[in-house]
Subunit: 231 residues, 2 copies
């Protein structure tokens, strides 16, 4: 790896903070890493947890990403309808060594036309929508297809980033970062996937996500139609 | 739990972003949760990952925390020497239902005099320093002693927060949040604790932390001396 390794987090309003904080914490420790958090307009940006980030770069002013990371979030719906956002990640992806995403970030990669015929991960509740972009949904927590490495929902970004870090800097290095962030997870419950969760818990979460899902699905279909028209 | 449940993250410059993002992502989903990110001077604050947060509240203007969360980070050294910071967390802790920390945040609870005779977790590399504050270091990932719930290094904040959420809102609720953030961790390597890591990896990380450790230890001893003088 080169002395400077620009890692670009392509953010948007109402991104999920943990989606990119996990990879940021892991990848910022890579040798030579230069992390750039950027958005379409730069400056300030609110996450869906309510916190505000500032001093963001403008995506169109970022020259190159050795690694591009696209996180998910409630705001993915609006980002999917932003030609500027999609054009920016398409441009950066073209010269990136690694194209990565977390959670519904893979839908954004899909909307940018980067996942046709590719296997990809996504948050379990939105995973099937990948098909609308010609991608092949994969239920694995971290999915690699060529230089595209995608993670499942929210917390999967940590596992995804450690996987990528091992490629960039070697397994020993990745393990030393894992030890540094004491990543020996011990969830107090076993409900982290639809398969593991009790049926009533799954139903509860599905109901909560239902209205959001219908809305997001409508956007995906309209985005797909637009992408098709562009070709 | 009441309709409004103020959760206060007591931040400081060079806090570790993931230390508080994990709990924030989990606890912001609690029913009635109102998350307040605050620092001594309010406004803007840089994390040790390089990102900047803005619109922070001032700690001395925060009236009450139902839950107080003190994260760790490289800046814990300086925060430990800030009488304003320590006074603020001491005041908020006095009326909090839950006092929590992540990583070296427990050293800050200790420096504020809140851990005397209490068991507490901490990042493995700094855990023994808890003794200087009269606390009892505990190697568990999440440690509960009365209303004080502390987590180990960085990523332990997610496990800590799910544990606390189950107390606040019930196990079913906590499991639904776990499913929502797809928390079914699958680390690609097994190096997350000093016991699990290969000896050469542990040595490597210890060496990297060595100079930092010596520096932080000196501050802890001087803080302890000051705390003793105040009593």
């Amino acid at each position: 790896m080169t002395a400077s390794f620009p890692i670009v987090f392509a953010l948007y309003p109402h991104v999920t903070q943990l989606d990119f904080t996990g990879p940021l914490e892991v990848l910022s420790r890579a040798p030579g890493a230069r992390c750039i958090c950027a958005s379409v307009s730069g400056g300030e940006l609110g996450c869906d947890s309510g916190i505000t980030f500032s001093n963001l770069a403008r995506l169109d002013e970022v020259e190159h990403a050795a690694l591009l990371c696209v996180p998910g979030g409630l705001g993915a719906r609006a980002a999917m309808e932003s030609p500027e956002y999609l054009a920016a990640i398409r441009r950066l992806a073209a010269s990136a060594n690694y194209i990565t995403s977390v959670c519904t970030g893979s839908l954004l990669l899909g909307a940018a036309g980067l996942l046709r015929g590719r296997r990809a991960a996504c948050h379990w509740a939105w995973r099937d929508l990948l098909k609308d972009f010609g991608a092949i949904p994969d239920a694995a927590r971290v999915v690699r297809d060529g230089n595209i490495i995608t993670g499942g929902g929210v917390t999967a970004g940590i596992d995804m980033a450690l996987t990528v870090l091992a490629e960039i800097a070697g397994v020993d290095y990745a393990e030393s970062v894992q030890l540094g962030i004491e990543y020996a997870p011990a969830p107090p419950f076993n409900a982290g996937t639809p398969e593991a969760a009790r049926p009533e818990i799954l139903l509860n979460v599905k109901n909560r996500l239902h209205s959001l899902a219908a809305e997001r699905e409508a956007v995906v279909r309209s985005t797909t139609a637009q992408t098709a028209l562009l070709e």
